[in-house]
Structures are given as structure tokens and as C-alpha cells.
Symmetry: C2
Subunit: 413 residues, 2 copies
């Protein structure tokens, strides 16, 4: 499929060119019911054609000529590989179990959104008491001081799994209890605490940002809740798909999260948040200086992290939301204005929209969070999604075991 | 595809029934070149039809009627999802980079096979000096005494990764050096040693089986080498596919192996080896008693672990090979004969062949390895494969990011 993602509709000429046929053939397709045309709404009464329909036609044709090609293209934003009831990606928002995520991020607690993702209608999975770290666990934790947040989680989660034998029971109640424990353990590792009583956001904020008494506490907490909620799921991104693969072997939820964290560690996935933070640190507030800096990066062939998402034509609604919230909560803070102005400058220069990574980088800067907190928030948030995917995969009972096409050396005879 | 895996050829009647057409239509397909017929070799000159050809026809037809279905079926032994030059699965053997694995398992060292899988023609990646565990690492290791082998690996690998910053360099030389270090670290964790000088098999055997001076040492070492070699890769099983997903995000080789180990922990994957070991422990040498035991299991609806593989019609060549080697090396040992007789009994009762899991369980029993050694061998062996898949995935540069079909609650308007 060679044509661009940007336009939802094509003209008859464009459709003909995409399909490699004459315009007359397009009209023939319409009369044979193979293609729908819609009014373009213009005075000349020309019709327009949905890009999706053209793509479908191209796919059918490819599949007829080369059976198996559809399957080989499926791992890269191709035809769906499995069914899911968790997240629907829309044009300018996304939905968890049918609820608008942008609205959820305005007034919900992260724990409530996690319960929604885990489909916990019958009972709330977050007890009032938090899990406690064992002496053994604290002993190891002390040896890990100074390591990145998610690194500590990757070492300690399998350690804790062994102490939590009941997590191996295979029923919904256990899954949900274990899921809430895992989220809280990750929160403890990220905040450097050994126990807590508040919400996950409160625990993180009180550890990362000591100015609790300041007048902005409510806004800070909301930005953190929104960041966690917006990070929670995004359909089959690479880490969630990894989580589903591991769950399909019926490995425990701890192992699922471990594998998710492993995928998240990759520069093409979670590291984007940290790289966007680094970029934002370079803003000076001087328009001309910043422009020169960005242009130099482009000339050096560097990628600008945190901008452009293949699934959103009009920009990643998660990044947009976080930026809009920061604007609303800090209308007059001059330091915040510098970050906002810098993001706007990048957007205009590279003609692409900020993603959730840029949004999380901005929140980290505005809340003055420690290094690595941005990816920590994303990791804790996304863990809620991995756990939802794992439970859905367990329920399907399917083992993920694809085939490869062998193209290597042939056996010697 | 409703018909069974067992027969490679179908009669005209069977082909017609599978396709839901008249027999005459089958002949018409042949004359139109849509289907090949072969001589059945029988006197009545009836033709036979390849099952694969019928499956192709069914797939094409399904794809025409429901575009996308091929992609949705691809995760479960469907059409290939990616290309690979590592392992080719044959009818009664398998090939690593074109070399017959059954032959490799007769006389190669595991390290040499790992180098083959990693395509190390130019330089051998296993230095004479092994990596050493740091003081910090030994400190944690001491706290983990008594835990399962692979559990210790899952805790300590991310710990070691942080100490090995050069592992993040992205070039072939580093990949291969890191890969050999990871295999040796896993060997140290599995053997409870803090350093070594010999081969991986020698290190494991000297730790697991103290009777080094016995006349059977050579046979024992060979059985261990063969077990590691036969475990090393099996195309896109769930853990190798998981490893590729993680590698596609450009996460480090340590993270790739961690995720592979997470998938391996699942009851539908690695735990089969341990369950087969438990089954084998129940053999008594009394034919009648053993038969009653097995029949009771079947009546209770239990699965018999270690038998039946969907990809091999005539039995898993890896299981067959290990059993044959044990038979050859221990022609007169009465205890070994009991295990062999028990495996034969299961095979006849459930009419299915032993898999590599049954083979590894047998080797563990024959070599009197400690509990958990079977899955330890499989894990170390398979790590060589995960690392090969990771390097191949890095080279492709493709991010694995499939789409899901949303079937959940629709957004409220």
C-alpha cells in the first residue's frame, strides 16, 4: 500500500492511481458493488472514495495473487491478528471498554481505570491494605539503590512472585487480586517506599515531589492520574502483544509484566519518553536559539523523539490532552510557558504532532519529577493494560504459535 | 480447516469432501491447473492429492470471502508471519542453518551449535575465559538458595545487564560476545558455581552429577550436549516469537532472554518438561500396574504430558533421538529399561509419539539430575535460539506492532 496515511478520502483519479486501473474501472467497480462512492460535498458533484475501501480491495487482490502475504504483513499495522474487547482507537480519542479515555483522564483515579480495563464490575480489586515488602525483598532492594526504576522492578518482580504462590491459581478473583498487588509493588519500587496507604498517584507524588503543601497539589495529582490513565493501554503495541504471547503459554501475571517491561526497555518503545524529556531539557526560552538547535538536529539526521504517530492522522490525542491540561493548570508559570513554546516550535518545524511521549516528558518537567520518572509513569500505567491483555488471552485459551517462512540455506543432500 | 494432521495425502473423495465440492470438480480443478494430482502407487491407478495443496485452496477461498481471516488465523500455526533463515522443520528431522540437527547432536559441542545459530562464520564467540559473577551478584545469589534454576536466572540477568553497559552497543561483534556471556551466566546460575573454565555441558554435569570418574562419563556428557542442541531452536514457538517481539523494540539481548524465560515458565510451554519428569517418576517396572495408572489418568481427564506434537506427523524427531541415544548408551541398565518400557507403554496406549519433553525427562532420570534440571537444560538450550532470533530481528529493523479487531462495548454517544 503505497499511498499516504493522511487523507481519509480519495478522488476517483487518486483511487484509480492507487489501484493501478483506469478511472472508468473505478466507476465499473462501483456499479458492480465492489466499491462505495460518497458525495464529496462539492458543487461539481464529484464523488469520493473511502481510503479503507481501496485498501481492502488492494489487500484482496494481493492475497489472491500471493496467498500468505496478508499474514506476513500482519505484524506491522496490517490486518488484525486477534480479537479484543479492551481498547478501541478512534480518530481523535481512544476508548477503554467503550469509555472515552480523554474524559476518564479528567476525573477518574488510575485504580478505577485499571478496574475498568480488568472488567471488574462485580468487585473492586484494590483492598485498603497494600502489600508489604518482605525482609528478604528489602535486603535486595537496598543493594539496588540508584538503579533505574523499571530496572529495580524487573529484578524484584520475579523475586516476589516466588513468595506469592497463590498467584498461580487460575481464576478471575485471583487474577484481579494479583494484578492490583503487582501495580502496587511497582508503585513501591518506583517511589522507594516499603509500604503505603494512599492511592498510587498520591504515593508516587509524595515521594517524587515533596512540595505537598503547595497550592498546586490538586493539579499535580490530576496530571499524574491523567498520565497513568492515558498510558494504560493502546491496543496491540509491541509490549502488550509481548504480554499476550507470554500469557498464551499460561505463564503467571508476574511473568507477563516482566516480559512487558522487557519490551518497554527498547529504544523503539519506552525509551522514547526519556528521550523526549532530554529534548525538552534543551529548551532555552529563546525562540531563535531553540530553532537553530532543532534545525541542527535535523541536519545531523537525528530523529526528534515524541512527535508523529502512524495511527493518528490528526495527532496523538493522549499527547494533546496532557499538553492541554498543563496549559489549563499553569496559565502563568513562565518556566512552563517555555516548555509549551518549545513543543509548539518543534511541531511547526517538523510538521508533526506531539505524542504521549512528549506529553509525559512535559508533565515530568512541570512536576519537577526525578530522572526516569516519565518512563516509570508510563510503565506503571501500561502494566494495567498488560494485565488486562493477559486476562483476555487466558480466557481465549489460544497458544500464540505462528509459523515462519524459511528462506535460509537449504539442507545438504 | 477441519481435517486431521495425520495424513499427508488425500484421495479424490476425501479432497472433494474437504473442499465441499463434487469429485468431478476435483478433476476439473486438476485440468484447470488449480490442483496437482499424483499417482497413488496402487494398482487401480487412482490419483492422490497433497494435503498442503488442499489447505492452500481452502485458505485462498476463505481469504476471498472474508478478507483478514488469514491474518487472524496466522498466530496459530497458520500462514507464515515472517521470514527466517534459522531453523527449517522437516518431516522427520530439523535443520539449523541447513545442517541436520540429529547429526549435530551426535558429535557437536553445544557452543559450536550456538555459534552456528548465531551465524558466526568469521569468529568464534566463546572466549577461553568465562565471565565472573561480581560480589554484588554473589550477595544476591546467596539469598536465592533453593529457588528453581530459571527463577534465579530471571532475577539475576537484569541485575547483570546493568553491570554490562557495553551490551547496549548495536553491532554484530557485541551481540555475539554478549550472547556467549549470557549463555555462560545461565550455566553458572544453573550449576550454582561462581566461575568455570570448561564447556557448558561439562560445567553442568560436574555440578549435577558428581560421579565424574564413572565409565559412563562420555555417554553422560554426550546426552547432555545432545539435549542442549536439540532444545536450542524450533522456529517460532511461543518463547522464540516473544523473544522476537522484544527484540523488535530494540531492547537488549538480556531483556530478550528475560522475556523468553517468562514465556518458558508457562504450563503450555516449558513446564511440560517437568510434568513429563513427574510422570516418568511414577513408572514402577510392573507393566500391569503402570497400565492401570495411565488408564486412570486418562479416565480422570488428565493430559499425558510429553506426547504428541502438532508439527510432526510421525513423531517429534528430537524426542525420538534422545530416547534412541539412551537405548544405545545403556543397553543393559535395568533402571533405564524401566523408564524406556514406560515411555513405550504410554506411546502405545495413547497412540501418540514422545516429544522432546519426554526425551528430556528421560535424560534427567537416566543421569540422575536434580529436580528442575530438565527445564534448566531446555532453558539454556533454547536461549541460544532466542539470541539467534533476536539478532535476526534486529537485522530486519521491523517493529512488531500488529492490530487487533475490536469486538467490545461500543462507545456511548
Amino acid at each position: 500500500m503505497a499511498f499516504s496515511y493522511k487523507k481519509p478520502f480519495l478522488s476517483a483519479d487518486e483511487a484509480a492511481s492507487a489501484l493501478g486501473v483506469e478511472v472508468q474501472t473505478i466507476y465499473a467497480y462501483v456499479s458492480r458493488g465492489l466499491l462505495h462512492s460518497e458525495s464529496g460535498g462539492r458543487k461539481d458533484r464529484s464523488k469520493r472514495y473511502r481510503k479503507e475501501d481501496i485498501e481492502q480491495l488492494l489487500l484482496r487482490r494481493e492475497e489472491r495473487s500471493q496467498p500468505g502475504k496478508t499474514a506476513r504483513a500482519a505484524l506491522s499495522l496490517g490486518q488484525p491478528v486477534l480479537e479484543s474487547s479492551i481498547t478501541l482507537l478512534g480518530e481523535d480519542t481512544l476508548f477503554y471498554r467503550g469509555k472515552d479515555v480523554l474524559k476518564l483522564s479528567e476525573n477518574q483515579k488510575f485504580e478505577d481505570v485499571a478496574s475498568l480495563l480488568w472488567d471488574c464490575e462485580e468487585s473492586y480489586p484494590f483492598d485498603t491494605t497494600w502489600p508489604k515488602l518482605s525482609e528478604e525483598c528489602i535486603g535486595i532492594l537496598n543493594r539496588l539503590e540508584g538503579r533505574p526504576i523499571l530496572d529495580i522492578s524487573r529484578i524484584l518482580l520475579p523475586f516476589i512472585e516466588y513468595e506469592d504462590a497463590k498467584a498461580f491459581r487460575k481464576d478471575h478473583k485471583t487474577y484481579k487480586k494479583t494484578s492490583s498487588s503487582i501495580l502496587r509493588y511497582l508503585c513501591l519500587f518506583s517511589s522507594g517506599k516499603t509500604s503505603s496507604e494512599g492511592s498510587i498517584s498520591e504515593t508516587l507524588l509524595s515521594s517524587w515531589n515533596k512540595k505537598k503543601e503547595s497550592s498546586n497539589y490538586g493539579s499535580k495529582l490530576r496530571l499524574l492520574e491523567a498520565s497513568l490513565i492515558l498510558s494504560a493501554d493502546h491496543e496491540l503495541n509491541v509490549s502488550s502483544f509481548t504480554a499476550r504471547c507470554v500469557a498464551s503459554s499460561e505463564a503467571s501475571l508476574y511473568q507477563v509484566v516482566l516480559a512487558g517491561l522487557a519490551a518497554l526497555s527498547g529504544p523503539k518503545h519506552g525509551q522514547l519518553t526519556e528521550r523526549a524529556s532530554t529534548l525538552l531539557s534543551q529548551s532555552t526560552g529563546n525562540l531563535k536559539k531553540d530553532k537553530l538547535l532543532l534545525e541542527e538536529k535535523l541536519r545531523n539526521g537525528e530523529n526528534i523523539p515524541g512527535f508523529g504517530h502512524p495511527l493518528y492522522k490528526k495527532g496523538d490525542p493522549r499527547g494533546k490532552k496532557l499538553i492541554e491540561m498543563v496549559k489549563r493548570f499553569y496559565p502563568n508559570d513562565p518556566n512552563v510557558q517555555i516548555y509549551l513554546q518549545f513543543l509548539k516550535q518543534v511541531e511547526e518545524l517538523i510538521e508533526d504532532y506531539p505524542t504521549i511521549d512528549a506529553g509525559l516528558a512535559l508533565v515530568s518537567k512541570v512536576l519537577q519529577l526525578p530522572k526516569g520518572a516519565g518512563i516509570g509513569i508510563f510503565g506503571i500505567g501500561r502494566t494495567a493494560g498488560w494485565l488486562a491483555h493477559a486476562m483476555e488471552q487466558y480466557e481465549s485459551g489460544n497458544l500464540i504459535r505462528p509459523r515462519a517462512k524459511y528462506i535460509g540455506n537449504l539442507p545438504e543432500v
